[in-house]
Subunit: 413 residues, 2 copies
């Protein structure tokens, strides 16, 4: 059961210049939407970040190659081709050949260069992909192109996600100008039944210069998709795409100093964070949504190290599953986090508003009842103050439950 | 249930120069052995390594201070004072004061300097230690000193370990000379009910120079206790001590070139490895003992990174619990291991003798039946060949079961 508010937004803004087509191509299962095509306007800027996993999938390699080729040309990415059911990972040269084949088929149909098509795959690892099914599904996909297909697309890119993940907002940047931001994501554990996992697609109708868009995407990803963890496993297929379709050169946002930049960035961040935390809320076996907020660090790196150590610790995560205020486990994880500037006697921990550990020792005001009460909440913030400086960082995670083991142990038996 | 052969050795060699006393001091529970004193001969060399956790416990701080003070003197460590039931961790200045108090009490009784006593604590974190109980137990402990108490000591230092952990061997280094090696350890998860965890004490009657002994201990620990993982959590109290009591200056082993060095080192390694792997076999909820052996690396660091990534992955561990040959998870973990020299297309994986993945792709000879069969074994070696060079490294771990979640989630409820 996903944790907390996971409903799609009431209003999902269409983004001018982005059309989405969907079909049930039978990549792995019959009669289930599994193929999605994004068509982007000719003037759209497109930025992309891909998994750091060195055993990355064939489509990831192709996305990188295509983007590199486009960077040296006057052309831009025009189509995203996304399938679920098969990740086309650990499939060697044959996998690469098949991914390229699907890009070519689409490129031929719509008359663009092959490197203007970006392929993405998610699903089972290590099986040869049914590229024929994908190619045969293209016509249906193209026939269904529409600006209003965001929610259907969020459903179609699911593997074992229990909910579609959509976020949408609009922002007024000027008296006369407002922009829309809409995005979808998928992921429910880093790899669930070998599902190579995280995908995110966000678009805005704001005009943003390509070089700035890429820089924004890296920053936005670092504050959202790179700040969530369910089981610490990084998939072979993770990709995130940011699209800006605006064509108004007079208002082109081309630097962080542009008057529209900050407010647009915040709107994008809101959408990214929502898409990322939805993945945690839908985490495998999750019963609690946990925010690990580290303050008082000497550096952001220290805060990040500490936050991840706590968020990854199976002992911390099982304690939260059990609603057990087992603060020694949190302190131990802080200690082995590898953070450079750390003094055990300066570390304080509060759970929501309950002070548990103050400067390395049990807080004198703490009672077991308080601890039990706060731990039983479905959404909890672990505040860790390192007492060393002003830096801060936040990571989002969920608890570790019996259900997690069941999901990951039992799916094939 | 511990996995595989976990019986203590038939012969546990006494080590001349090492006497052990044990008593039920009532540190936390009544009528349970919880206090152990080691008395070492005046000429013994003593080496020690301590946890890298920056939130380390008060006794760990004291051990480091005492060893530093002794290094600049002509005196050596004469007593180890070990309690279970309370880790004296996250206890601040009061914890430090109490640990020092127990050292002083023992030092006064046996007429040594306080820094010749090394304190070790294991048990619950964050509670003030009952130092009075320890001090009151010293007389009984000293009265029971004997060379034959290794097994009883292994039992006494347990927290939630289900088995005592002992290893013992003897080795002929020369026609006329043989040495004995005996050791004990404790640990069952990195922290089980907040139990601050790993302790190891190994002694030999060989004569080894102090500087070499420390160097050997670091190397031995890196190949044993630093190559096991259950849940990836590093405790606040981990310590390992190596004692060499031999007094024969004519045969003093003072360099790695000494003719007795290699064969003695191998005997020590055997004991260290046994003590370390016993901890994994007794791992929380473990149903399988897994050896992750990485070969063909360009560097040992790469091999170590890969081995730990695989051994830590909850997805790999749950797959082993389920006896599911889910090799995609292994390949994904290899990919995100952070190893510097890695080419996905060169990675091969075999489980025991079953080739699963060859150079990044499913091995053509592989069948699901073979995979199922090998995965159902209680002891499995994951062989990962990186195909990049000659380096190798090995890590030992166990699977992740429902029982792990139960043990760590339910203990206080």
């Amino acid at each position: 059961m996903p944790v907390g508010n996971i409903a799609p937004p009431d209003i999902i803004h269409a983004i001018e210049g982005v059309e989405i087509g969907i079909t049930a191509a039978g990549v792995r299962y019959k009669d289930r939407d599994d193929l999605v095509v994004f068509r982007l306007s000719e003037t759209a800027s497109v930025a992309c970040v891909t998994t750091t996993n060195k055993c990355c999938a064939a489509p990831v390699l192709l996305v990188r190659e295509h983007l590199q080729q486009l960077a040296g040309s006057d052309k831009s990415a025009r189509y995203l081709l996304i399938n679920t059911g098969n990740a086309n990972a650990a499939t060697g040269e044959e996998g690469y050949r098949r991914a390229l084949q699907t890009c070519k088929a689409l490129a031929d149909k719509v008359e663009v260069e092959v490197n203007q098509v970006m392929p993405f795959s998610t699903g089972v690892i290590g099986e040869v992909i049914n590229s024929e099914a994908i190619i045969n599904g293209l016509d249906n996909c193209l026939a269904s192109l529409s600006q209003d297909n965001w929610l259907s697309a969020a459903n179609a890119i699911r593997t074992t996600d229990t909910i579609p993940k959509v976020a949408s907002t609009s922002v007024v940047v000027d008296e006369a100008i407002s922009y829309k931001v809409t995005g979808i994501s998928k992921g429910a554990g880093m790899i669930r039944p070998n599902m190579a996992t995280m995908l995110g697609y966000v678009a805005t109708d704001a005009p943003i210069a390509q070089h700035l868009l890429q820089q924004m995407l890296v920053e936005l990803t670092n504050q959202s998709f790179n700040r969530i963890t369910i089981d610490g496993d990084t998939s072979t297929n993770d990709c995130c795409v940011l699209i800006a379709t605006g064509d108004n050169q007079a208002n082109l946002i081309d630097s962080t100093q542009h008057p529209h930049y900050q407010v647009l960035y915040q709107a994008l961040k809101e959408v990214f964070l929502r898409l990322a935390t939805l993945i945690v809320r839908d985490g495998e076996g999750a019963t609690k949504f946990i925010t690990v907020k580290v303050t008082g660090g000497k550096t952001v790196e220290d805060c990040c190290d500490v936050a991840y150590a706590v968020a990854h610790s199976p002992l911390v995560k099982t304690a939260f599953f059990a609603s057990d205020p087992n603060w020694g486990r949190i302190v131990a994880a802080v200690g082995y986090s590898g953070a450079e500037n750390l003094d055990a006697d300066q570390v304080s921990v509060t759970l929501d508003d309950v002070a548990i550990c103050t400067r390395g020792q049990l807080d004198p005001s703490y009672t077991e009842e308080q601890g039990q009460e706060v731990m039983s909440r479905p959404e909890i913030t672990i505040n860790i103050d390192l007492g060393m400086g002003e830096a801060t960082d936040t990571v989002y995670t969920c608890d570790l439950s019996h259900e997690y083991v069941s999901i990951n142990a039992d799916y094939r038996s």
